[in-house]
């Protein structure tokens, strides 16, 4: 507990100033106008995400994790504050195809094969036929689905479908990957496996990842930075810089360091609830 409390010196990015923030939010506010009156989904959210960061968002249901991710993606427009992605507005970044987005459900097109689904963004973005084939092969290998290009989604398990949807988000050259509870519906064992794969993939591709989850171990295991959020209105309760090394075998989860970070996340979550 003590070792990670306060500002963790160990992993505080020494080159922070040299690195530019890929995603930068300052005092982002978002109020939805609904039939039952306004819903204050995000309040005063300020956060910098640097290149190569793996940032997890964790918090109770309804605290605005999805909403914030959608703001970054330009799918939702903040009603206040400033948000920039790659130095552009989120909408410009969306049009520049700056990120891949993985939704909670795999959402594969049932009339397309796995290969065809991965090809979808490439077709839309106008890659050449040969380039499409090459990329589909490469990303399917990356997510361990090499032999499944010609199968239809219903022929795959839920975990495989989710991996295919990750491959789809990786197929084009976006250096940001936004993932909204991609493994939420999967069982623990599959989830562990996919977490491991995701870390390897992150190391290989050097992407910047924003990752929403409900699971404390998952957040701690994956992230370089954990953003704990609290509800009503959604805001940041704590930002924890991980002291874990980038190389993380699964059994790192039994280390005292891991447990200490998990404790601090849990405390942050509890504090958010106590405010109610």
């Amino acid at each position: 507990m003590v070792s990670v409390d306060g500002n963790p010196q160990g992993l505080e990015h020494s080159a922070k100033t040299a690195r530019s923030a890929v995603i930068s939010a300052s005092s982002v506010d978002l109020t939805f106008q609904t039939n039952d009156g306004p819903v204050h989904a995000l309040k005063d959210v300020s956060l910098d995400i640097e290149k190569g960061d793996f940032v997890s968002f964790i918090g109770p249901s309804g605290c605005g994790k999805t909403t914030f991710l959608r703001c970054i993606a330009g799918l939702e427009t903040p009603t206040g504050g400033a948000l920039s992605v790659n130095g552009m507005t989120p909408d410009e970044a969306r049009r520049a195809r700056a990120y891949g987005y993985v939704f909670q459900a795999a959402g594969l097109y049932p009339w397309r094969t796995i290969g065809g689904n991965v090809k979808l963004p490439l077709e839309i973005m106008g890659y050449s036929k040969a380039e499409q084939e090459a990329r589909v092969r490469r990303v399917l290998e990356l997510v361990d689905l090499a032999g499944f290009a010609r199968k239809y989604p219903w022929q795959l398990s839920g975990g495989m479908q989710q991996r295919a949807s990750i491959a789809r988000a990786l197929a084009f050259d976006a250096d940001i990957l936004l993932m909204d509870e991609p493994f939420g519906a999967l069982d623990e064992i599959v989830r562990d496996h996919l977490n491991e794969q995701l870390l390897q993939l992150w190391a290989r591709t050097e992407k910047t990842i924003g990752f929403v989850t409900h699971s404390i171990p998952e957040a701690v295991y994956l992230s370089t930075k954990i953003v704990v959020m609290s509800p009503r209105p959604g805001r940041i309760a704590d930002v924890i810089e991980s002291t874990l090394p980038r190389e993380r075998p699964l059994d790192i989860r039994d280390s005292p360091e891991f447990i200490a970070i998990a404790h601090r996340v849990r405390d942050g979550l509890r504090a958010g609830h106590a405010d109610d």
Binding site: R94, Y101, G107, P110, W111, P121
Partner: protein, 305 residues
């Protein structure tokens, strides 16, 4: 295969009921005919027979019962009479003959298919417009719904007469009535199908910064295919009904509708019944054709599950 038994049971039940119903329906006619011949019928007097109920008459004259199945102009023909008439007019006469149901069937079918093609094209075009234009959504849909509340029996003669006044006769007026009936299910089904992709799937395309045309070809159109087939199956049978109705008011000389009318007007119920059954069989065949097409298409699209 498992559905065969229940279907056969229902068919057997209907046939049985029909066969039994022939006796009371025709017993008076049969008794009259028998009395005109050499048979002794009870009661003997024709006037008196009218007073007797059908069942009583049948019980009193069991010998007459077989004759109820063989009348030339029965009130209700026996199933076997309809089958024989169908056989004779489909297989036993030249397909070009005026008596051939193949000939009449083709006349009706050509109008049906033309009208169905027009109705489907119109329906898809309207659906695309409705989905992409809010103005069309608000303006077209109420009219499409209102159009279907006008009884086609009232409208058909007007269409035939107006087009006849313009010098257009034959195939096209009937096809227009068919199109009028078949475009509606296509509009409703296609609008539903084109709107079937959920918010997440639409958001996914937004993250790729895809344009509306790409959204249409890559997502909305393929997603609408199962809905389209459901509509086509309704549309094709509606088209057939439209073509037949289009043949009724003009005293058309050819087509299923014309045969039904001829049978009625010249007191040949067998002709009417045979035409009715031929039309029903044609409808079933068309729907079956589209069901098969649906299976093949969805299978090739990978959506057969």
């Amino acid at each position: 295969m498992r559905s065969v038994l229940p279907v056969l049971t229902i068919v057997a039940f209907i046939l049985g009921f029909w066969t039994l119903a022939v006796v009371p329906m025709n017993i008076h006619l049969a008794a009259d005919q028998a009395a005109r011949g050499d048979m002794v019928v009870e009661p003997d007097d024709a006037r008196a027979r009218q007073e007797v109920g059908a069942f009583a008459l049948a019980l009193g004259n069991p010998a007459v019962i077989p004759m109820t199945y063989t009348l030339d102009r029965p009130r209700l023909p026996g199933p076997q009479q309809v089958v024989v008439e169908l056989w004779n007019t489909v297989f036993a006469v030249a397909p070009t003959s005026n008596r051939s149901l193949i000939y009449h069937g083709w006349v009706t079918l050509s109008a049906t298919l033309l009208g169905f093609g027009m109705g489907t094209a119109l329906g898809i075009a309207l659906a695309v417009g409705i989905v992409f234009s809010r103005t069309m959504d608000l303006s077209v849909m109420p009219w499409a719904i209102a159009s279907q509340t006008i009884p086609i029996l009232a409208l058909a003669p007007m269409i035939i007469v107006v087009m006849g006044a313009l010098g257009i006769q034959g195939l096209l007026p009937k096809a227009i009535i068919s199109a009028y009936l078949s475009f509606f299910p296509v509009v409703v089904g296609m609008v539903k199908g084109l709107r079937s992709p959920d918010a997440m799937q639409l958001d996914l395309l937004r993250t790729y910064s895809a344009g509306p045309a790409q959204g249409f070809w890559k997502l909305r159109l393929p997603a609408s295919v199962p809905y389209l087939f459901a509509s086509l199956k309704i549309g094709i049978s509606a088209s057939l009904v439209g073509a037949i109705v289009g043949e009724l008011p003009t005293g058309a000389r050819a087509g299923f509708g014309a045969r039904m009318l001829v049978g009625d007007q010249y007191g040949q119920p067998l002709v009417t019944w045979a035409a009715l059954f031929a039309a029903a069989i044609t409808a079933a065949a068309l729907v079956g054709l589209f069901a098969a097409l649906e299976r093949v298409t969805l299978k090739r699209m990978g959506m057969a599950a």
